[in-house]
Symmetry: D2
Subunit: 404 residues, 4 copies
């Protein structure tokens, strides 16, 4: 059952490889014969839900430097072998049109690493969070109006920020609002400025990164006030996915994990930003908490992430799991995962966009816990076991769909 | 809650490394301080069920050559580093007593490889299945009487047989009974002779191997007639366990598995017998069917097993999974699993013994499908997804226990 | 120092992926800016030798079915990601010209697997080895004349044949000649028919496969009679290369290799032919002998090769090396090698062509033992240690070059 | 040919696992039937040299806390499975005697991490390097006299120190001597205090660690003055060994290494000290320089070392090598090395002791460059290619031996 709705996806960090791959994928899937492999929402469970088809989507977004979907995609093709064949040629027209929908972003309250990636002519000049929020809200609203869209979903695919302290003023909306006109890096990180603006614009918000985004009581309160569904955070695409798949096996079989050491090497823009210790810290924290939640005890756990330029958008993870079995015998499992990061992430972005738009139509508000399987640090739930998470998603997929 | 029951475990292939490790483990766990790591029945789910405690068990069995639990265990200690510390010294007395409970077995209708491992003075001489069944039944019954046991469970831990054709006479009990006095290898393989005898002796039967055992309509009919619970077949300890853990992830994420190639190297007695192409065939078939059941399509699948003498009881599996993601991009996952086979298997044998005895007390009859997670080729169910299997086991663990 | 010579390379199995990659590479390197990475003869040692430059080469060959360099190369590009960028477009003209130099081949005395790949209109019809040799010799001679080439080198890059028995008539040239007019598969395998013809045509011969080729006393006698240099056999590109690199380390450090188990999975045409047990046997024998030659004792050694269609021209090898160190402690090394087979092989084909042509100009005759480092089963020497082989190659590279 | 000489090996850091394993090995090899696997000096090259037999050795040393060879060895046996069987029981008497030869050491000028491992009653109290040197020299001399030893070799097997700045006063012996009575951490690190004392005692000195030891012009000058041979530094046992074995293959084959990322996980005392960033820095520098020396260019290179307590004395290294082949195609090699660190190191310590004692008898003075293959950062040479290093060792082994 198809509907005639038109929807928008607004990508923060539009020239990043995840966002670009999302755009290329949405363009390509306007052709019915394009394979849907990689989309969870096409795994056969979701037929009853009235999800928006790929051709219903218009793409827009923010970024802080000059760019274009086609040239970024071509670079990914050359460096990482993505988008084989004629995919880019055939879709260059629509991608060029979508490029026009991308507006200058903000680096207000950004860290030095991310600020170093910005260009003056591609960033909006604003002195306070309040100003930035208003400008971003206006961009999103204009996009919805111009393209006559029924709904717009905002997805954070920008670079990972350093950890942001849990200041008191983030605990209630009134306190936060009281400080939005302050010129201080302490008020709100960039990712949360965007999240605030998305909610003000009436858009469901998906945080695909480990940055703060909407994950503080004040902004969740805003979402409830405005009736907005939230999801996040930090897309679960590779090593952490495997941890949440394998750890339940060790738990069920009563095998005692002694240590779990994982090393990730990756290139690309993501790797470049994560090479900064501050930004890396957010990521590692996000990856490291899952084991003890599943196992019920805390084995020694190491997570390393290193930038290896030659790998481009490919990530290789090596994990070494040392465990004890019957009568004290120690054994080992090791795995390597060689994945193309954006190729793994982009279909999940599309899945989440479809599901978040659907949730909004069903008037679901606040953290969508049934989306936990998509995230390394799911909001609104402690559930980390991938199969328990999947079970919840499956249950949801069998419920009554929203009207279109 | 402990009961005062006394139970027996009867191990077919008692001098094999799985059976010996089972005996060592049961001996060691008579001490409360011995860790229960590796036992599924000690993972926290089964507290409500009134399972028999390790100290309730007496061990006996059949084997076809001279042997002894202590010397086999010492050999495993020296060659494979199992049973560290003082475990063997402390338990040598009880193991010596249990050694006396092991009776000569049968090689009637066995293949040449297994026959070559037998010794004349350790095998019973009988011309027909009927004779062998009666002799085996009597051994088991005598064990129960002598030791004043409330129940005895029979577990097949003998070497893997070659595949046995599904002859017509295996389809009904009356047809099979009509041929039990024939001198012909075509009537019933050795493993099924033991299974038949176990059921005749009123014992629940666990087939921990891929051999035929009780897995034909005729013997299942016998089990129903006698009110006996059955479980099997082929304990899921390593590579196949991981297949049934990982394949559901690929399915849920809609990642298309293109090929799954797995190679296993192992030494020890199991490796030696599997080095024979006929015996290996049974094993490979058992390992190879799980993927298409979980994925819903049949990727190219390879399973290799090779005997590497220096590894002794250790098995290393290397699996290479080639899969397609979004927009046709191909990616890879590889894993290695370095496990000590008997150390992984023995606690499952004990789990299955406890659960099968419990099932008999609850008057459960025929294939116990909630035990599917323990087996590569679970009987009575098509369910191969480890987490669906676990879910069923968990549900069962929350039901009303049997009276003791 | 460049010379003005023009030379030819004649590829048996021209539409195979190794030969096609060789042609693409020679075409591409006519541009000086094309990288020379992968060519041993460009590693800095060979500056003194007056080797032929890539632009001196004209390509021709034989194959047994219809084909063309450009379309084969495009297929490799699509399936295996080879030849990135504009390489094929830029070189399609020269490749089309070279395609015209490829003549119908022979399947006389070929095995069923290889015969099944042939097409009637692309095979010459001849009843005896003598006829086939004459026809092939004439093709090669015509190529040399037409293109006014100073020299032509013949390289066997055809599919691997099954092992050929060492019949008595292969022991001397006179005996072999006496049987060349017999219609019998027992006289000479296809690869040796080509080798015989190449030598008759006055061309140095390189056997890049494990097939028999020139490797029998009778044909070596012919080579000496005609003053022809020979080299082979079976290009050492991946797993075996690593064996001959790593085994010397274990030997020097006096670490005792207990077992070395290697499994190779590969797709492509090579994988398809090797999937036949007969053809695979030749390959495995070729790969398996190197260890005991280097170590001085024979550890248990396993070599598996399996066809995995999805891998296309990529080969992944997993090797598990179990070794004993000081005081009986056992340790492990494992490696995986993920290589694109033709990309590894083709530059070695070009190296060998350059070196064999140079050898002919220096009047070297018979097996060129200083080329041992290029081969799994080097002819004329027992030396398998890669670094001893390299040392010999380096010594040779410092000698007086041939005149041009 | 055996000689009747008696020699001593003086181990700095005697209760460390490498030193203890060295002692256990020397004790065990007093039995001729004990395997010599792992000793380079028993690989068949050194028969002509008149090296001291294992039974000629008496063991002594320094350490900074209470300890004993037997109890340390038992701990290694229990935690890491080393010294299987009756090895320890049979040799406990001789090990107890050697334990009495171990004297309190010094932590003068040591870093906080190492100081934290020391005990007051096991450290000598001295205020200046001059005092410490004199005390250590006297201990070594007393050992030689008491046991009537012909020669004593001193080997540094203590924990790795942080990098020490190359102060000006380390550039000449006179400048260094002028400051030896200063109370300042800037004068000389602990490892160099020991090295100075060893040379003053007339002993050849082997630095098996990356600490400074004798590696400064001032102390090398002292060695020349006293006629003492030196060797070091940092035993090459695992990952770096493999780098110097594999990198020459990539170089010879003209394959371009794009990046080489290696991660090491290890437990044990070595892992514990290396867990400190300052101490780790010395190690990483030592491991990281070898690639560019062999390849002739500097690929991106990462070396990680992490402490994983459960691994005890076992180290697992995972290396990922990304390389470019012909026509720009990128390929990968990965390896894992699962080695028991002390078991790999101890036989090299014994090799170096034998060779250094032999060198002293031949009046060789200063850095012994033919020992480069034993070290990550060989002194006196830039040669890093393992096979070039081996070649030099082999040449040396064929020379005229020293008189006994």
């Amino acid at each position: 059952m198809k509907n005639n709705r038109r929807v928008g996806i607004w990508l923060i960090g539009a020239w990043g490889s995840v966002a670009t791959t999302t755009a290329v994928g949405l363009a390509a899937m306007r052709q019915e014969q394009q394979s849907r492999v990689g989309l969870v929402t096409e795994n056969g469970w979701f037929e009853k839900l009235n999800l928006d088809q790929p051709e219903a989507f218009v793409v827009g977004g923010h970024d802080i430097h000059q760019g274009c979907f086609v040239s970024t995609a071509q670079k990914l093709h050359q460096q990482a072998g993505m988008f084989s064949g004629n995919l880019l040629t055939e879709n260059s027209e629509i991608l060029a049109k979508w490029t026009e929908n991308v507006c200058p972003g903000t680096v207000l309250n950004a860290d030095a690493k991310i600020e170093s990636l910005s260009e003056v002519q591609s960033t909006i000049q604003c002195a306070t969070p309040a100003e930035a929020i208003e400008k971003i809200r206006a961009d999103i609203t204009a996009f919805r109006t111009t393209h006559q869209l029924d709904q717009v979903v905002v997805v954070n695919t920008a670079s990972t920020e350093p950890p942001f302290p849990t200041h008191d003023h983030l605990k209630s909306l009134s306190q936060l609002r009281a400080r939005l006109s302050e010129k201080s890096k302490e008020v709100l990180p960039t990712s949360s400025i965007y999240a605030f603006a998305a909610i003000e614009a009436g858009c469901p918000y998906v945080n695909f990164t480990p940055s703060l985004g909407s994950s503080c009581p004040a902004i969740e309160e805003l979402a409830r006030e405005k009736g907005i569904p939230l999801s996040g955070q930090d897309g679960k695409t590779g090593e952490t996915l495997l941890k949440t798949v394998l750890a339940p096996m060790f738990a069920a079989r009563n095998l005692k994990v002694l240590s779990w050491a994982g090393f990730n090497i990756l290139g690309g823009g993501d790797g470049f930003v994560l090479n900064d210790p501050a930004n890396k810290a957010t990521k590692i924290t996000s990856k490291d908490q899952v084991l003890s939640d599943i196992l019920g005890y805390r084995p020694q756990s190491l997570v390393g992430i290193e930038y290896v330029e030659s790998l481009s958008d490919w990530k290789t993870a090596w994990d070494h799991i040392h465990f004890e079995g019957f009568l004290g015998t120690r054994m080992m499992m090791q795995f390597t995962w060689q994945g193309c990061d954006s190729i793994l992430a982009a279909p999940l972005v599309i899945d989440l966009a479809r599901l978040a738009l659907h949730a909004q139509r069903r008037q679901e508000v606040g953290p969508l816990t049934y989306l936990a399987s998509f995230f390394k640090s799911p909001i609104g739930t402690k559930k980390q076991n991938f199969f328990e998470q999947l079970n919840e998603l499956w249950q949801y997929s069998q419920t009554q769909p929203a009207n279109s």
